[in-house]
């Protein structure tokens, strides 16, 4: 009913929207943010109290040398930074190999070749239906000695084959997401199979493939922690060693978790910026 007191008419609502948020809405938002912060403060307090009850001795003042030390005016990187660099190296190399494996497997699954499809399907089913930890042990204790692979590359290859199986399905989905008419358009002008994929199918599947592939690379960084069980000297191993030396379990695990978080969040922000620029350049 128009003009009734208290109930905003659609026109008033529109005006309010144009004028921006009113004070009440701003207060409500603010209060909700405060609530969220309070929840974390309470959890943090409980952990602190718990630690105090265990008579845990927080020693945050000792953590700086875990990152770096300055000796004679020279910066020497500490175990956590060196571990992080190893983790990044591991993840980048494994990521590149995983994407390559993904493309090869996806095309093998989509191909007419029966042997290609069998090989790809067996690989996918075997990798996706066994635990990563078991794969790692199998790789490190059985395959690595046979082929003479060191622990660093055992870790990389194991991660690459594991994530590659997921990349394959993401890439296959992206390729199949391209409209059938595009294949027919490419066929009708007589493009070869390679040209058809290179110029028509892959460029159009990239927007479908990139977002889930980012998720995959982020989970690759997280999964890379598992290679600490074969003592590859990456971030998690560095954390384990520090705790063995200093008994500062709480501090070290918080730091290690924070470092993983920093890397993965940076990566996902970077990719979303890249995607936005992709969409913009499209028109």
């Amino acid at each position: 009913m128009p003009g009734r007191v208290g109930v905003p008419t659609p026109r008033e609502l529109r005006q309010r929207e144009q004028a921006g948020m009113d004070v009440r809405t701003i207060w409500r938002r603010f209060w909700q943010i405060v609530q969220a912060v309070l929840v974390y403060v309470v959890i943090g307090y409980l952990i602190w109290r718990g630690a105090a009850a265990m008579e845990y001795n927080w020693q945050w003042y000792r953590v700086e040398p875990f990152f770096y030390r300055v000796i004679d005016g020279e910066v020497i990187w500490g175990p956590l930074v060196r571990g992080l660099i190893q983790t990044l190296k591991l993840a980048v190399i494994a990521g590149v190999i995983a994407v390559l494996i993904g493309f090869v497997t996806a095309f093998a699954r989509l191909s007419q070749s029966i042997s290609g499809r069998i090989i790809a399907t067996c690989y996918l089913e075997a990798i996706r239906n066994t635990p990563l930890l078991v794969q790692l042990f199998l790789f490190y204790f059985v395959l690595a000695p046979i082929f003479g692979i060191d622990r660093f590359w055992s870790g990389i290859l194991c991660l690459a084959f594991f994530e590659g199986s997921f990349a394959a399905e993401i890439i296959r989905g992206g390729i199949q997401g391209v409209d059938r008419g595009q294949y027919e358009g490419a066929d009708a002008i007589g493009l070869s199979v390679v040209d058809k994929y290179r110029y028509i199918v892959i460029p159009q599947s990239l927007p479908l493939i990139l977002p889930p592939l980012t998720g995959l690379l982020i989970s690759l960084i997280k999964h890379s922690a598992i290679v600490s069980v074969i003592a590859v000297s990456e971030l998690t191993t560095a954390g384990l060693n520090l705790i063995a030396d200093t008994f500062m379990a709480f501090e070290v695990w918080f730091l290690v978790a924070g470092m993983y978080l920093a890397v993965t969040i940076t990566l996902s922000i970077g990719v979303s910026l890249f995607e936005r620029s992709l969409n913009k350049s499209k028109r």
Binding site: G181, Q182, G185, A186, A188, G190, L191, Y199, Q204
Partner: protein, 250 residues
Amino acid sequence: MLDATPRPLVQFRDVCKWYGDFSALHDINLTVHEGEKVVVCGPSGSGKSTMIRCINQLEAHQVGTIMIDGEEVSPEMKNIEKIRREVGMVFQNFNLFPHMTILDNLTLGPIRNRGASRAEARELAMHYLNRVHIAEQADKYPTQLSGGQQQRVAIARSLCMKPKVMLFDEPTSALDPEMIAGVLDVMIELAEEGMTMIVVTHEMGFARKVADRVVFMDEGEIIEVAEPEAFFSAPQSDRAQLFLSQLLGH
């Protein structure tokens, strides 16, 4: 233009095709000669699209032979893309490449398939864009054009491959009514220049004007082949009569 014995460009001999138990094409026999314009019509699901899609093997036939300019095409053949370069095809939904400009849509084929230089391909593309009257749109993307313009681009893209024969699979069915005339005009011009054309369409005005023969299909079979005047004024078969009365009835 008319030789004493025009060359047969597209030949169907006893062609059959099934989807499972469903017979999509049954004993198709048809020869289209160089320079000839054939319009294919019939109710939906009658196999008209399937038939012309078999010509460049977008669909595989199972029985019989299809020859293009004396060369047999079959599902097993290795170099099907060589044949496809000789056969232009225009689709109902245009199938332009949305991630490329109009110009790139047109130059991709000549550059990749014919080894044309970028400049040659560009010149060729602009020539055909002029012919379909949209040269000024060359740097736009397909989605920025109207349906009618997109279909004319699709025609130009096929022409850039200098095909021996052009296939049209319901080229105006997805267009708004006011867009249809522009596309049909381009097709009529093409016909007047002597292009061999096989056109699946329900545009009976176009058929009367351009077609040398009309092929009527129903349930995967060719029911009737006749000159357009004869077909439209006095169809022989009951099914063609019914089809025409439904088409013209409303």
